[in-house]
């Protein structure tokens, strides 16, 4: 069978050209095998002839690929023999752009990567910048707790979006509307606080862009009071429902050793039973002062990943309640003239403040030489930011370790030998955001 290839070597190669090493890539999660062992794995029990199999493209624009993910699937009947994700359709060179923008402007860039949890992206970028500046220990208490509040609410909105898309992918179409309805409530709060529903650029090096608006506590409480009831509806609609369980249980199974070897983090890693949550294990902000549970699964299947995300919404609500009780008064950003622009009122009365304001927004602030890697727990796993600075106001190199980019490497392994109808459930359970995959 010949393939019309228009991405050349990036595509899934025909079976006749398979080498043992290529098989190892496809079953990459099958750990540290010798080539001979991998070659053996390549011979599936059916030992299919090339004219019995079919290579089909799923995507790049398929409603269940969550953006522009293209999967090349080799099928025999309805069984997926091999799979290769082909990415890059959304690549806009954001890391290159990050080298042109100052540390002050960088937030606008990174926030657009994982557009389902923009505040976590901004947070990790800001924390990396602060570490380079050496002010990471001086961020005011209120700023820390505000960051935590926003981060957790963002985790909730991201997981609610997952509930919506996961339901939609599996045919629970009303779930799509429910998930979006609840997410919208959270986004409405973000809009009130930051002015925007998404891509906020609200968390900035040194603190946040503004203080919480009047009445924020009531808004958060309204969300917290509304959600538990809705989540119980989800339980009725999905968790306990036999069709839902049939579709997800035992689908897309991955073992702990495989998840670790593939670098998978977040709900995928936790679904295999590995307790690893950066909020607890390498605490940042004030996560060591709040109580929450790290939810883990047992089987590493799509149902575990669904259940973990549902449970994480509840855990986030628990954290948010504690934040409400403990939110301190004080400054929402560091009063360090180097990184903080003067207050608006000062600009009218002081020439120096005006110049300072102008300078900080046109030239930015200089960041000492050095390089750091900072990682936090985003809803999708470990999001990391590596910044190398040469002492100028723009990063010399800004790299974001995107959890989705690493996590989609699990797809070929999870799908291998499964049904093509389950492929949709598997993609959905990995919950990739393609803006972050391609950057």
């Amino acid at each position: 069978m010949t393939m019309i290839a228009d991405e050349g070597a990036q595509e899934l190669r025909p079976r006749s050209e398979l080498t043992a090493r290529e098989v190892m890539r496809e079953v990459g999660a099958v750990l540290r095998l010798s080539e001979a062992e991998a070659a053996k794995l390549g011979d599936l029990p059916e030992d299919p002839d090339e004219d019995q199999t079919m290579v089909i493209n799923m995507g790049p624009s398929h409603p269940s690929t969550h953006g522009v993910l293209r999967l090349m699937l080799e099928l025999q009947g309805e069984t997926v023999l091999r799979c290769k994700p082909i990415i890059g359709y959304l690549h806009t060179g954001m890391e290159k752009t990050g080298e042109q923008l100052t540390f002050m402007q960088g937030g606008t860039n990174v926030t657009r990567m994982d557009y389902a949890s923009p505040l976590n992206n901004e947070l990790v970028f800001s924390m990396a910048t602060e570490k380079l500046l050496g002010i990471d220990g001086d961020i005011p208490e209120r700023a820390q707790w505000m960051r935590m509040l926003l981060s957790e609410l963002n985790r909730m909105s991201s997981h609610l979006l997952f509930m919506a898309t996961n339901g939609m992918d599996l045919g629970a179409v009303s779930m799509m509307i429910y998930g979006w309805r609840e997410r919208e409530e959270v986004l409405r709060f973000f809009q009130k606080v930051t002015g925007l529903r998404m891509n906020h650029n609200f968390v900035r090096p040194g603190g946040l862009a503004a203080d919480l608006p009047a009445g924020w506590r009531d808004d958060v409480l309204r969300i917290l009071d509304m959600l538990p009831e809705r989540l119980e509806e989800y339980d009725i609609l999905m968790t306990g429902q036999p069709i839902w369980r049939e579709r997800l249980q035992g689908v897309g199974v991955i073992t702990p050793a495989e998840a670790l070897a593939l670098g998978a983090t977040g709900p995928i890693l936790r679904s295999t039973g590995v307790e690893w949550d950066l909020r607890r294990d390498q605490p940042y902000l004030r996560y060591d002062e709040v109580e929450f549970d790290v939810v883990v699964g047992t089987y590493g299947d799509a149902f575990d990943r669904y259940a973990i995300r549902l449970a994480e919404i509840r855990e986030s609500m628990r954290i948010v309640r504690q934040i409400l009780d403990r939110m301190p008064e004080g400054d929402y950003r560091i009063q360090d003239k180097k990184v903080t622009p003067p207050p608006r009122a000062r600009i009218d009365e002081s020439m120096e403040a005006l110049i300072h304001h102008f300078k900080i927004f046109t030239e930015g602030f200089k960041v000492p030489e050095g390089e750091v890697y900072v990682a936090i727990e985003s809803p999708r796993g470990e999001i990391g930011c590596y910044i190398a600075s040469d002492g100028s106001p723009t990063p010399y190199r800004m790299h974001v370790r995107a959890p989705s980019f690493v996590n989609i490497q699990c797809l070929p392994h999870m799908m291998r030998g499964g049904l093509v109808a389950d492929a949709v459930a598997v993609i959905s359970s990995v919950d990739p955001v393609l803006g972050e995959v391609d950057r």
């Binding site: 050349g8 070597a9 890539r25 690549h91 670790l260 390089e371 936090i376 790299h399 370790r401």
Partner: protein, 167 residues
């Protein structure tokens, strides 16, 4: 913050014979290509079983960066972030890669999860990884010329190329 646990103040400045520095409280080990695979393997045995990130930096415009004595600066650096889940610590390896011979052995056998990351580094920097199972571009189109994250790759607008478009 997300600090790895600090190494003791008395921590030796070398580890497995390679210079180790402290970058804002984070442990950084400096490697050359000759000892890259060997040290990576030892680190896995020490518990750093998870490779969370692999990326590169093109230091073309910044060759005078500070490096510990004995490390010869090269144009490229491959940066590998390893994680030890058991002891909750991290280590970062900076590997000097020369411009004229930008090849590194692939970590695929050690950390299968670096497959996509190494492809990305190849795509963006033109550093090839020997023995990589799928040495193709990953983000840019297969027929793209140049490696965008290199410092001598200019920022600017390029006419969009459509494959098979009538000319």
């Amino acid at each position: 913050m997300t600090d790895t646990p600090h190494e003791d103040e008395s921590a030796p400045a070398t580890m497995h014979g390679c210079p180790v520095t402290d970058s804002r409280g984070q442990v950084v080990i400096h490697l050359g290509r000759d000892r890259y695979l060997e040290v990576m393997r030892v680190l896995v045995d020490e518990g750093f079983a998870m490779c969370v990130d692999l990326t590169a930096v093109d230091y073309l415009d910044y060759m005078d960066r500070s490096l510990p004595a004995g490390v010869e600066p090269e144009r490229f650096e491959v940066v590998v972030n390893l994680l030890d889940i058991g002891q909750r610590r991290r280590i970062r390896a900076r590997v000097q890669v020369s411009e004229t011979d930008a090849v590194l052995p692939s970590l695929f056998d050690l950390h299968p999860g670096t497959e996509a990351m190494e492809r990305e580094v190849f795509d963006m920097f033109g550093i090839s990884f020997s023995d990589h199972p799928d040495p193709s571009r990953i983000l840019m189109p297969e027929d793209w010329i140049g490696h965008p994250l290199r410092k001598d790759y200019e920022v600017g607008s390029i006419p969009v190329q459509f494959k098979g478009a009538p000319t």
